[in-house]
Symmetry: C2
Subunit: 324 residues, 2 copies
Amino acid sequence: MSVAVTSADGTHIPLLEAELLRRVGSGDSLLELACLDALFPTGKLLRPVLCMESAESVGGTADQVLAFAAGIECLHVASLVHDDIIDQDPVRRGRASTIEQYGLAEALVAGDGLSMAGLAALLSCGPAEPVLHAARVTVDALRHMCQGLMRETEIRGDLTCGVPTVLDVMRAKTAALTGAACQAGAILAGAPPRQHQALRRYGEQLGMAFQIRDDLLPYTAEDRITGKTAISDVANLQPTLPVLLAYEAADETDRDRLTALFHGGTDPVTAHRDILAVLTRTGALAKAARMASTCAEQARAELTGLPRSTRLAELATSAADRQY
Amino acid sequence: MSVAVTSADGTHIPLLEAELLRRVGSGDSLLELACLDALFPTGKLLRPVLCMESAESVGGTADQVLAFAAGIECLHVASLVHDDIIDQDPVRRGRASTIEQYGLAEALVAGDGLSMAGLAALLSCGPAEPVLHAARVTVDALRHMCQGLMRETEIRGDLTCGVPTVLDVMRAKTAALTGAACQAGAILAGAPPRQHQALRRYGEQLGMAFQIRDDLLPYTAEDRITGKTAISDVANLQPTLPVLLAYEAADETDRDRLTALFHGGTDPVTAHRDILAVLTRTGALAKAARMASTCAEQARAELTGLPRSTRLAELATSAADRQY
C-alpha cells in the first residue's frame, strides 16, 4: 500500500482487503494459499480504489461496487503473477514472486485461479443489466491486456520498434484496465453514458501517467522503494518508453551503445548504469516525466462536470508524480 | 473432430467453427495467430456440442446458445494450452502444442487471451438475467478446474493419494465444465431449475465417463489415434485412475514395481510398457472401463423427462465407449 492511495482512502482499503479475503478463501488449499500470497500484503490497490471512487464521483456508493472492485484487483494481480512467469522475475513488491516461491506450474495455475475468482466476484454483484455491462467492459480491457503482453514479447530487444508502439503496449497493458475500472464503477452506480465514458477516458489517461512513471522508476528510485529489481527491464531487454525516447534523441555513439546493450550479454547491473547515463544525457527522463504530467492533466480534464471528483483529481496528480 | 460427436451433429460443427473464428479474430496479430492455431483444427468440440444439445433438449435452439458454446470451447482450449505448459507436453491433437510451437511466454499469453475471448463470447449473448446466471455457473466450473489442476500438481508421483483423490481431481478438472456447459445451455434456453440442474448432473457424469476413458487411452489406443503421446502421463509421473486401481489391487511385488516406476528415472517407454503389464494383470483396465460405463448410465438416467434427449443419451454412451 502506498501513502498516495491510502491517505484519503482510510475507509476503502480495509473494506477491500476484507472483500479480497472473502473472495479468495481462507487458504485451505495450495491454490488458495498461492492466491492469498500473491494478493497480500496488497499493492497500491489503485484499480479497485479507482472503481470505488468513480462510483462515488457520480453519486453512487463504494459499497455498491465493492465486490466488483475486489474482482478487478484479483484480475490485475493474476496478470502480475503471469507477468513474472514471462519475465522470470524472482521479486514482486519486495518479496519472492509467486513463480519464485511456488514454481512454474503452481504460479501458472494460481494466476488462472485468481482470474476466475476475480471474474466470479465481478459477476456476483447487483442487478443483471449493469453488472453484465460492467463485466463486458472489464473483459474487453483484459483482452487488450493480453494483446499488449503479446506485443511486448515481440518487441523484446528491439530498439527500433518506435515510441508509438511502446505507447500502444502501455495503452493495452495498463490503461485499458484502469479505464475499465473507472467506467465499470460508474456503470454500476447508474451513471449515464456521457459520465461513464468520460470516466473511462479519465482512467485511461491516469493509467498512462502511472505506467510512464512506472517505467521511470528503475532510473529514479531505489530498489527498496519500488519493491522490484531496478534491473528487471534491462535484464529482460524490454525497451521501455524512456529508453526509446533516449534512442530517438541520441547521437550515433549513444545509439550504438544502446543497441549493443539491447543485444544482451552485458551484465544487467553494468547495462543499467550505462543506460541511465544515456537517458540522462539525452533528456529522456525529463521528457518522459513531462509526458506523464500531460496524461494526468488530460485525465483531470475529463472530470469536468462530475458531481464529486476531487479525490479522482488527486489520484491523477499523484499517479504522475509518484516516486514509489 | 471425432466420428462420435460429428455423426449426428452435421449442423452444429460448421456453425461452431464459424463462430469460433468470429470470436478470436482473423490472425492479424501474434496473439490471434497463436489462439487460432490452438483452436484449429478443432478437437471433438464436446463441450460446446453439449451446450447446444442441452439447449435443444429443453425446447430451445442451438442458435440461442451458439456464442456461449463457442466461448466455452475457447475457455476449454485455453486450459489445454496452459496444461501443456505445466506438463511440458510437446504434442496436442497430433500436432505441436502451443508451447512447443510458440514458446513459454507466448503460450501463456495465448491461453490468457483465449480465456478472455471466451469470456467475452459468454457475456455477449441474449438477455441479461439468464446470461449472467449461465456465466456464473461456467466461471464457478472454471474455478473448480483450477483447483483440480493445482491438486494434480500436488499428487504428482504419489501412488498413495488414493482413488477418491483422483476422482475428485477428475470432477474438478473435467466434469465441472462439462456439467456447466449442459446447465448453461439449458439456462439460456429458459429451462426451469429442475431441468437445468438435471442436465448439470448429466454433464458431470458424462464428463467423468469421458475422462476415465481418456486416462485409459494410453493403454488401449495407439498414439496416432489419440493424437497425444501415450507416455505423457507416465513421463509426468501423474498417477491416473487405472494406475491407482492397479496399485490398490496389486500384490506386493507389483506395488513395489509401480512405486519404483513412479519415483522417476526409468525411461518413459519402458515405464509405460511395465505399467501396462501391471494394469492388465490386476484387472485395473477392465475395472476402470466398468466405472466409465456406470457414469454413462447415471448420466443417461438424468435425462428422464426431458422433451428431446435422444442425442444427449447417445453422447453419454459414446463417451464411455470411445477408443479415440
